[in-house]
């Protein structure tokens, strides 16, 4: 179906008939004096799986969100948001928002028609009861959900599934699993220093992260460190915006990070700059690691693998080892490789052997879940009596698995499919096959790999339900769409996996149109399930999203945040009270040995090397490396579709090096085809030396008027690690290859 007929369908169905954007009238250019008293002020929090998880202050007048700011109470956001955060008022009032439940007669036909919530839910409930009758269980119902909305109460989506019985879950995470496992092997947990203490660092290496685009509020700590004399080194195959702000920008061979880290480690060893006290008293296996380095690693070898000259490696390694404290920010980009987990372990080792683990201003920074100790009340629901489920290998888990242990005792589990191979898993699942797919907080057609295969997988499904705010490609491939609330229309709470602030999200306005929150949707489904078949769903049938907030908090969270009641957060976000801004400051690691493990037998028992040894990368399957990282204008497929964002980002481009462009006869802004065995995209080219000569770069995005989708070109090859902590290995998003030609 073309975009045009899709839009026509919307118009016919009335989806474009009313323009709520009319609520958000432009201000007069010579505006009235500003008076805070003219507004009602609410607390919100950005739930979009971003390092910064900004605390928002929302100004409402006459029930309309007029503008947003960053909360001044959080030293992290310090009164500001990012470009995406400031576009929120448009998001909530976008004319493109899905306004009421709709049914598409013929998936992909664009023949949408409005239905009532009751009709939509009755349809879904009848279908679920039918497949349960047919299969004798509900494993034919699958949930795909990830991080489109990280508000804690949104775990009610998982809870809704549990309350129906045992279902199929797409588990794992496309984001950061290889590195999570790596840090768990080395340290016993993924736990990073407070980013605010980066300013106390004397040497900062930002390795495969691009905070200038993806964590703007962290940049002030990088600058503060530099203002106090620290050197900033940025390592990335692309000369990113962060690279441009560093003192030194290394552009190594993509995927050579492990070799580089090991080469640096070898040089530190040769110079005798190892923190002997740390490796002797707080670590195990260092001598074996040192022997591995002496036997297998030289700086010249690392130089050859990475393309970074040996003298340069020596220089930075020596500077890093002698500047104390020194820190490395390990980005999620560099672990999205078939050797990504091994690379993170090598970097961890470099930080540890120089004695920088457990130190204020030091640390191998990756992420943390210290502030995520909520009750997950919305998620923890019982299966109806007599439910039949999966008996086989252990059921699903995720990185926020809070039901571990409880599930072990049950006779049945849910069925787990690897979220990073969604298309293949949906095609392969048998006894029963997946018949109904429920998608929420996620846009599979923008996030799941090998889009052509995904089309085939969706074609096999009997019913697709998506819970959305916009007519995404996934909605286009759905039978029913349910409109979901934005952050301004619901109560929830948000924590970051990077900084230590926790923010309340208040309901600031009544839900627009007929939107409902995910937990209200669960309650409504429960009502319909039980009406048709009493006892078929255990989810509560009436929900006050504010009352449910109470149920998510506990004494642990209160004590950590230094508050006595969650309503205290209405005064502003609260920061976790940690014994030190440094993780592991007591050097008590959560590994089996209780020490930092240069040698991890657990890692070896999971089929990897015990030591952080070098692992080869993926063999190319097309002539050029294809990178599809994050843009500054979007979080995955979110935000790029707003007309306000289109003012600043009009279209996607493929960025390529002048030498490659010359070789291919491509001029700046020419339309080109980027293609590989998985698929093809057509877009215009920008020629730039920020991209290496063997590389094609396209940023992830979803444009409402264009067919652009990076998942046309990305296959589902797995990363080395991730299964241990997140239930499925990560995905080698950056081990992709493609060719380019003038269109």
């Amino acid at each position: 179906m073309s975009r045009r007929s899709f839009l026509k369908g919307l118009i016919a169905s009335g989806a474009l008939a009313t323009l709520p954007c009319g609520l958000l009238l432009p201000r007069n250019a010579s505006a009235a004096p500003f008076n805070k008293a003219d507004f009602q002020i609410f607390r919100n929090a950005c739930p979009r799986n971003c390092y910064d998880t900004c605390s928002i202050v929302t100004y409402v007048r006459d029930g309309v969100v007029r503008f947003v700011e960053g909360a001044p109470e959080s030293t992290y956001t310090a009164g500001g948001l990012c470009v995406k955060g400031y576009s929120y008022p448009r998001r909530v009032y976008s004319p493109d928002r899905i306004k009421y439940p709709m049914v598409q007669d013929g998936r992909g036909s664009g023949n949408w028609r409005r239905v009532s919530w009751d009709e939509a839910m009755e349809r879904i409930a009848r279908k679920l009861l039918e497949i349960k009758e047919r299969d004798g269980n509900l494993l034919g119902l699958a949930l795909t959900k990830y991080s489109g909305n990280f508000g804690i109460t949104n775990y009610g989506v998982e809870g809704m599934m549990s309350s129906l019985g045992y279902t199929t879950r797409l588990v794992g995470t496309p984001c950061w699993p290889a590195g999570i496992d790596a840090q768990n092997y080395d340290l016993g947990d993924m736990w990073c220093n407070d980013p605010e203490d980066m300013e106390k660092s004397r040497y900062v290496i930002i390795w495969g992260a691009n905070p200038a685009w993806c964590s703007v509020h962290s940049m002030k700590y990088v600058y503060a460190a530099r203002d106090r004399g620290a050197k900033i080194v940025v390592i990335d195959p692309v000369l990113t915006q962060t690279s441009a702000k560093g003192d030194v920008a290394w552009q190594p061979e993509t995927g050579s990070d492990g070799a580089l880290a090991l080469g640096m480690a070898r040089h530190v060893l040769d110079l005798g700059l190892v923190d002997r006290d740390f490796v002797a008293n707080n670590a195990v296996g260092f001598e074996e690691f040192a022997a591995y380095l002496r036997q297998n690693v030289t700086v010249e070898w690392a130089a050859e693998k990475s393309g970074i000259p040996a003298d340069e490696i020596r220089r930075v390694a020596e500077e890093f080892a002698t500047a104390r404290p020194a820190t490395i920010w390990i980005g999620y980009g560099m672990q999205r490789h078939v050797n990504g987990g091994a690379a993170v372990r090598a970097i961890d080792a470099l930080v540890a052997m120089t004695g920088n683990v457990g130190k204020v201003g030091g640390g191998a920074r990756y992420g943390h879940l210290q502030t995520w100790g909520f009750n997950y009340h919305a998620m923890i629901q019982k299966a109806p009596a007599g439910s039949i489920g999966f008996t086989g290998k252990a059921g699903p888990k995720g990185e926020f698995d809070v039901t571990a242990g409880a599930a072990a005792a049950a006779a049945y589990t849910d069925r787990a499919l690897n979220i990073n191979k969604t298309a293949q898993e949906l095609l392969d699942a048998q006894n029963p096959p997946v018949r109904v797919l429920w998608s929420s907080c996620k846009n599979p057609f923008a996030q799941d790999f090998d889009r052509n295969k995904l089309e085939k997988a969706f074609n096999k499904l009997e019913m697709v339900v998506s819970v959305e705010q916009f007519f995404t490609e996934t909605v286009r491939h759905s039978d029913i769409v349910l409109p979901v609330t934005t952050l301004f229309e619901e109560w929830t709470v948000n924590a970051s996996y990077w900084h230590y602030w926790v923010s309340l999200n208040e309901q600031a306005i009544a839900p627009m149109h007929e939107a409902k929150s995910n937990i209200e949707i669960a309650a409504l489904l429960s009502k319909h399930m039980n009406r048709l078949s009493p006892g078929s769903c255990t989810y509560p049938q009436d929900i006050d999203t504010k009352e449910w907030m109470e149920k998510e908090f506990n004494k642990g969270v209160y004590d950590l945040l230094g508050i006595t009641h969650w309503q205290d957060l209405r005064k502003g976000p609260a920061k976790a009270k940690m014994p030190s801004s440094a993780s592991w400051s007591d050097r008590k690691f959560k590994t089996p040995s209780g020490k930092y493990e240069f040698r991890s037998d657990l890692c070896a028992s999971h089929g990897h090397k015990a030591l952080p040894e070098y692992k080869e990368g993926r063999k190319p399957y097309a002539p050029y490396r294809l990178l599809t990282p994050h843009s500054k204008f979007a979080i995955h497929s979110q935000f790029a579709n707003l007309d306000w964002m289109e003012e600043f980002q009009t279209e996607p481009f493929v960025y390529l090096n002048p030498a490659l462009a010359r070789a291919k006869g491509i001029a700046d802004l020419d339309t080109v085809r980027v293609f590989n065995p998985i698929g093809e995209v057509k877009l215009r080219a920008k020629i730039t030396n920020t991209v290496p000569g063997d590389c094609l770069l396209m940023y992830e995005a979803w444009f409402r008027k264009l067919n652009f989708n990076v998942q046309n070109l990305v296959d589902d090859e797995s990363a080395d690690m991730g299964a241990y902590k997140t239930g499925a290995p990560g995905v080698a998003i950056h081990d992709q290859f493609a060719d380019v030609a003038r269109a």
């Binding site: 010579s30 503008f67 700011e69 703007v216 002030k220 964002m645």
Partner: protein, 195 residues
């Protein structure tokens, strides 16, 4: 509207610290967030520096809005006195007086006034004067996550850490007649080590 205070700055201005600026467009969107301009109307925009000025494409930017010039071309060209130069230097466009003749749009050498196709009038950044008067920072300045955009008083500039700021950096038109107030700190480049 203009309250005379002895301590009032004589010429408020944007200081654009390109060395710190990460080109994140936050300031530009913060303006949109506050004023909800019509589609296609942008008061603050980010301009990537040409590779002849900064050797890496789209890695250094000028964040620009109205310059609140000492001798505003827009004000001088306006037939109905829709423009006002306040005592603190802020050039305010009073849209209620504007007849949409477009003279200001044509005469501003920096392209600051924009045409509002719905109201059929001009409009531009008036330095969030209504926020300034309430003791708040301009929306764009408050939003900048790295303090790359600051509000300064030109008279006091020489005594601050921005004493080395320049008025006419490469790529920015030199217009001494209007004497634009914006000041710039230029970016530096990293030592790039490529394979």
């Amino acid at each position: 509207m203009t309250t005379q205070k002895t301590s009032l700055p004589r010429q408020r201005a944007f200081l654009v610290d390109v060395e710190r600026c990460i080109g994140c467009f936050t300031c530009a969107m913060a303006c949109k967030n506050y004023y909800h301009q019509e589609t296609g109307v942008v008061w603050r925009q980010l301009y990537p520096l040409d590779e002849a000025i900064y050797p890496h494409r789209e890695r250094a930017f000028f964040s620009l809005a109205c310059n609140h010039c000492e001798n505003p071309a827009c004000l001088n060209a306006c037939p109905v006195k829709a423009y006002e130069k306040r005592e603190d230097g802020v050039v305010v466009h009073h849209q209620d007086r504007c007849i949409g003749c477009g003279n200001c749009i044509r005469s501003c050498p920096y392209g600051a006034p924009r045409y509002n196709p719905v109201l059929k009038k001009a409009e531009k950044c008036s330095l969030c004067h209504e926020r300034l008067d309430a003791g708040k920072q301009p929306a764009c300045v408050q939003s900048c996550p790295v303090r790359a955009l600051r509000l300064v008083d030109i008279a006091a500039l020489s005594t601050t850490d921005a004493a080395n700021a320049v008025q006419y950096p490469a790529g920015y038109p030199e217009m001494p007649q209007v004497n634009p107030s914006t000041r710039f700190i230029m970016p530096r480049t990293p030592r790039v080590v490529r394979r």
